[in-house]
């Protein structure tokens, strides 16, 4: 077994043991903390695919995260009230239906946003993705049926056949399973010829075009795939917290996802997960100590951006002796 795979397996086993450790020490909040960090890690990893590998700086990624979450919330709302969405789609609380629905909805939104935004580049691309995310944000705020600014409470986590999803630990393991699967999926994707083309476009778009590759189409596919990943993460988050709110797609959330990617390491597979874990843990810990936790986070972030290239992953490699 390769060293990298061995390390992954060890990390996976350690993460799987978190609920037991939490029970032993009586720190039940650990499950919630690590679970959320894993989900944010998935969202950040999906952003990293277009940002780190594809060089597309999207400042509106939280929109897809939020859309995925809202699909779960809205389907539950209709299931609970016994009404039909748009007059013909019944609600449901089955995770096997809600998650694919969330992925598809986020993918459709990403197709729309990507098709229009990818016509521009540079600063304009950053700003137009932000603009679309803002539009979704305000759209969901104005939907009174789905709670407006307050969002939707999902009273019970979606059910999965054969599992007791009310149990916190079970839900955590489901989340961990999805995170691990998503990690492996991204690893395959990056190594595939598709992933190589995306990386090639980042390095030199004109050269890829000269090789006869329709760069716009490939970038759009990557953007859609990335949006679908964020949608899945959002859907899991709503299941995990049993709450969907417009805050999920606020522009500062998009900024936070970018921070996680950079903090962990741009264009690395594990980076976004490490970054998400580090930032989310730091925020949670600091928030317990002081209400002014944003100040140290801001200073730390500034120092990381100004002084380092490559984030925590590069730092780890330096310490480990630089094998790669």
């Amino acid at each position: 077994m390769k060293r990298e795979n061995l390390l992954l397996l060890v990390v996976f086993i350690l993460l799987a043991l978190v609920p037991f450790a939490a029970e032993l020490t009586g720190q039940s909040s650990w499950i919630k903390l690590v679970g959320q960090a894993l989900i944010y890690g998935m969202a950040a990893a999906s952003l990293n695919f277009i940002l780190g590998y594809g060089g597309m700086v999207s400042f509106g990624h939280a929109a897809f995260f939020g859309i995925g979450g809202y699909v779960v919330g809205m389907l539950y709302h209709h299931f609970d009230a016994g009404t039909l969405f748009l007059g013909f789609i019944p609600g449901t609380d089955q995770m096997l239906i809600t998650l694919p629905a969330a992925i598809v909805a986020a993918g459709l939104a990403a197709a729309l946003v990507g098709a229009l935004s990818l016509r521009t580049g540079g600063v304009q691309f950053i700003m137009i993705t932000l603009a679309f995310a803002q539009m979704f944000f305000f759209l969901f705020i104005s939907l009174k049926t789905y709670g407006g600014e307050d969002g939707i409470m999902v009273r019970r986590t979606n059910s999965l056949p054969g599992l007791n999803m009310k149990d916190k630990a079970t839900l955590y393991w489901v989340v961990l399973g999805f995170a691990a699967a998503y990690y492996l999926f991204l690893r395959r994707l990056v190594q595939s010829s598709f992933g190589q083309i995306i990386a090639g476009i980042r390095q030199n778009e004109r050269r890829m075009a000269a090789m006869g590759i329709s760069t716009y189409r490939y970038k759009l596919y990557a953007f859609i795939l990335s949006g679908m990943g964020a949608g899945l993460a959002g859907a899991l988050m709503v299941n995990f917290l049993r709450f969907a709110s417009p805050d999920m797609m606020h522009w500062s959330r998009s900024g936070e996802l970018m921070v996680m990617v950079i903090l962990g390491g741009v264009g690395t597979l594990a980076g976004p997960f490490i970054g998400a874990g580090a930032l989310f843990t730091l925020e949670t810990m600091l928030a317990r100590v002081t209400e002014h936790w944003m100040l140290p986070v801001g200073i730390l972030l500034l120092l990381v951006v100004l002084t380092s290239k490559g984030g925590l992953m590069a730092l780890a490699r330096k310490i480990m002796g630089g094998t790669k």
């Binding site: 016509r119 600063v123 932000l130 009174k144 921070v259 500034l302």
Partner: protein, 304 residues
């Protein structure tokens, strides 16, 4: 009709505020190539400094001066301490570093002033209203804001088009490397432009302070609208920023004033209200998306 005219004036007043912010932001963008998300923080600094002094001393004008000085100093400190290291970096690093600056500015402001909004009143001389049309009294202070904004626009026009500094600014916006190669002290120019941008942002904050509630996060709300203005106008173009700021200011104000009521004629009350407000908030972003689809570099973009 009277109502429409009043809302147009409100739109104009919002538009010049956006222009004060956008002029600095577009110059910083155009000349240094830096995305400064923290520009709104300088607006907040101006507003807080001015309000605090105005509350302590009772003098609006003292507040105005303090606000300008505070935002100018904050701008120069930010330029020397942070921005200078970002010019050669890519947009991603700039977005993140200035995002971090927003967190730092916001929390520092909370530490100093707390979370309660500050309220100030308009200065004595400008507190009344003027009947600009028969049956339409309009607050003198808002007219004053419009006048100041237009005066700054004219001043900037002369500064950029008729002076030596302005010539360097224009040259820097169209070809940075060439200006540097010709032996211009580019560092000094950068600091000066950033300071000027900060000063204008501070002025916008001071002007807005008696009208809006001065609170932490006030900069974050307006900075997004400012970015929309800059991108629609074309990065680096002050003229574009002016046209886009006035147009968007009016467009946004009109939507907010009339859309909810219009919707209420076809929908039940509360839903129409919520939807109207939501769509009004989306308006400027929709505008930006449409403009960029037709002109991917904005309306008045240079060669850049």
């Amino acid at each position: 009709m009277i109502l429409l005219f009043e809302q147009l004036l409100n739109g104009l007043q919002y538009g010049v505020t956006l222009f004060l912010l956008a002029a600095g932001l577009t110059l910083i963008f155009g000349i240094m190539g830096v995305i400064n998300l923290a520009h709104g923080a300088l607006y907040m600094v101006g507003a807080f400094a001015a309000s605090w002094v105005a509350i302590q001393t009772g003098s609006f004008w003292g507040g105005l001066l303090t606000g300008l000085v505070a935002s100018g100093i904050a701008g120069i400190v930010v330029e020397l301490g942070v921005m200078r290291r970002l010019y050669a970096r890519d947009h991603l690093d700039q977005v993140l570093a200035t995002f971090a600056l927003i967190l730092i500015f916001n929390q520092t402001t909370v530490l100093i002033f707390g979370r309660q909004p500050l309220f100030t009143s308009t200065p004595e001389v400008l507190s009344g209203s003027i009947e600009i049309l028969p049956g339409l009294p309009y607050p003198t202070y808002r007219l004053f804001v419009i006048a100041v904004g237009l005066a700054v626009a004219i001043g900037l026009y002369f500064l950029i088009n008729k002076t030596r500094v302005g010539m360097l600014v224009r040259a820097g916006a169209s070809n940075r490397q060439m200006v540097r190669a010709l032996g211009v002290n580019i560092q000094g120019l950068y600091t000066a432009v950033f300071g000027l941008g900060a000063l204008l942002a501070g002025l916008a904050g001071v002007m807005a302070s008696p009208i809006v509630s001065v609170q932490v996060g006030m900069g974050d709300e307006i900075i997004l609208a400012t970015f929309v203005v800059v991108v629609i106008g074309g990065v680096g173009s002050v003229k574009g920023a002016f046209v886009a700021a006035i147009a968007l200011g009016m467009f946004d104000t009109m939507l907010r004033a009339f859309l909810p009521a219009t919707l209420q004629q076809v929908m039940p009350g509360p839903e129409a209200q919520a939807l109207g407000v939501g769509i009004s908030s989306m308006g400027i972003y929709l505008m930006m998306a449409l403009v960029l689809l037709v002109r991917p570099r904005g309306l008045f973009a240079g060669r850049g």
